[in-house]
């Protein structure tokens, strides 16, 4: 068991994050953090009150105004059906944010639960659970996520669930290793020593202390999830039309890359900015927790 434990104990997988980087120089970056939160705030406002930001519909357009380049009337131009691109981005934020949120929630909840159980119960339960995670990792992620979408049906939330399931293993491994680390620490030993019950110690000490890196990963996953949903759109497994979801906008807009560059560039830029913001916030969470 122990050797495989080493595999699992070591730092987390693929989506592992935005480390504290070069800490000394980051302390100067507080304005960056402010901007990051500002970006998140604006996007959240878009999701709740899209009508404040655009007069156009996100799903219906004027056929005569198709494929207009960015300009005065349509700030970011229009698509092949004469729909305002900015309006689609703003109205699409609800879909994308929900999608990313669901993806992260599924991964976080399932993964953390598995990791917590495995890490704190140890022994046979640990072995069985972590072999289960191995099985999950050993099946190509592509097959898993496409199959889940086929079974659940095409749509942003279902695609998000598929993406979330794909990240369960990562969250499980990370939270398990964090739990193990915290469990071995002196104060938890002490808590047990002073007669704390297992669940109490878990709740009071293990969970709060292992939450930091897990939450940081969660914030980071936010951006990764939008990317993953976009890739599914590229592969033909995106939400049905006329859903204006960011990933789908990038995927569909790529067809016009040589003729109408704005269709893929602007949604792409929005995603880059949001992901960078999420990363920045993820970093600050990690830093705060360490």
């Amino acid at each position: 068991m122990s050797a495989s434990t080493t595999t699992l104990d070591s730092p987390p997988p693929v989506v592992e994050s935005g480390g504290r980087d070069v800490r000394p120089l980051l302390s100067r970056l507080q304005p960056g953090l402010l901007i990051a939160w500002l970006v998140v705030a604006v996007v959240l406002l878009w999701t709740v009150l899209p009508g404040w930001f655009t007069q156009y519909s996100g799903t219906a357009g004027m056929a005569r105004e198709k494929l207009l380049p960015p300009g005065g009337v349509h700030l970011l131009g229009t698509d092949e059906l004469g729909r305002d691109l900015l309006a689609r981005i703003i109205h699409g934020s609800a879909q994308s944010v929900t999608g990313a949120f669901v993806a992260v929630a599924v991964g976080l909840l399932l993964g953390t639960l598995l990791g917590l159980l495995a890490g704190s119960l140890g022994g046979r339960v640990d072995a069985v659970l972590m072999r289960g995670v191995d099985v999950l990792l050993s099946i190509p992620g592509l097959l898993l996520s496409l199959s889940i979408i086929i079974i659940l049906g095409f749509g942003t939330v279902n695609a998000a669930i598929a993406v979330g399931v794909g990240s369960v293993a990562g969250f499980a491994r990370l939270s398990r290793s964090e739990v193990m680390r915290v469990r071995r620490s002196d104060y938890v030993e002490a808590a047990f020593g002073s007669g704390g019950t297992f669940s109490k110690v878990l709740w009071r000490h293990v969970l709060p202390n292992s939450a930091g890196p897990v939450l940081a990963l969660a914030a980071l996953q936010f951006g990764t999830a939008i990317m993953a949903i976009s890739t599914l759109g590229f592969l033909g497994y995106g939400a049905p039309p006329p859903t204006p979801e960011w990933g789908l906008l990038i995927a569909e807009g790529r067809k016009y890359i040589a003729t109408s560059w704005w269709l893929t560039t602007f949604p792409g830029a929005v995603v880059v900015v949001v992901v960078l913001a999420a990363n920045r916030i993820s970093r600050s969470i990690r830093k705060g927790s360490s």
């Binding site: 980051l26 951006g223 990317m227």
Partner: protein
Amino acid sequence: MPSYLAGRIGQALLVLWAAFTLSFILLQALPGDALLIKYQNPDMGLSPEQIAEIRASYGADQSLVLQYLHTLGNFLTGNLGYSVSASVPVLDQLATNLPATARLAGLGFAAAVLLAVGIAVLANLARFAWLRTAIASLPSLFISVPVFWLGIVLIQVFSFRLKLIPVINPPEWQGLILPVLTLAIPISAPLAQVLLRSMDDVLTQPFISVARARGASLPWILWHHVARNALLPTLTIAGILFGELIGGAVVTETVFGRSGLGQLTQQAVDNQDASVLQAIVVLAAAVFVVVNLIIDLIYPLVDPRLKKSLGANA
């Protein structure tokens, strides 16, 4: 040690079997199947009776348990069957696509490591704070660009505008440059972040100041202290990524029109080509367990602290 190894191999076989079984169940849960998709298509002009006959000839009218045992038996005897949608032996498909994916994934991973090391070192060597910050945020940028977009843009720029590298019928080594780059950029991001963090951790240790005071150069310190620290996490990520790469290369393969397991997987899912998918799952699971087994065996060599626990187990 041998008994430890036997245990690990046993576990590995168990994971293989579980992956096989799980994927069989998963495929059964999908609506329709390969035969339905192919023959129920009105374009085939087949009557319901003719379709039923075809289904029977493929054994699709048997019970699920029988089909499962049949499939399992075939796999154990090395008979991978035929692809229903493409009408070629699955073995031929694997033989065409596996080397292509292995090359792409192998080079992609190597390039990702180089890129990650480059970023980490540059971030620490850069003279200006703003430059360091910019370099350190490259990984975040890398994971926020969709791979298909990156691939298409690289092709538009390097192949169509600058006409440096052809996409159609390129010489093999030349044809690999853009796809490898496309694949490497997103993978390098998590690696670079791990490296940046390890460096950060090491460089703030007291002994570094001592070493520097004694006149050690920064590159020397990075090489001697950071490299070893970063090797473990890199290996771990490698183990997971390699399995991911088999399916994860699909976008790169589609954009660049390369054959490979990713594309094969997607097409097989589209057509619900069960025999192809089962073969891919077993292959991917085998690669996954073998790579992880190797990594587990390498760990103690890299990090002496782990030798003891391994020894205790053996």
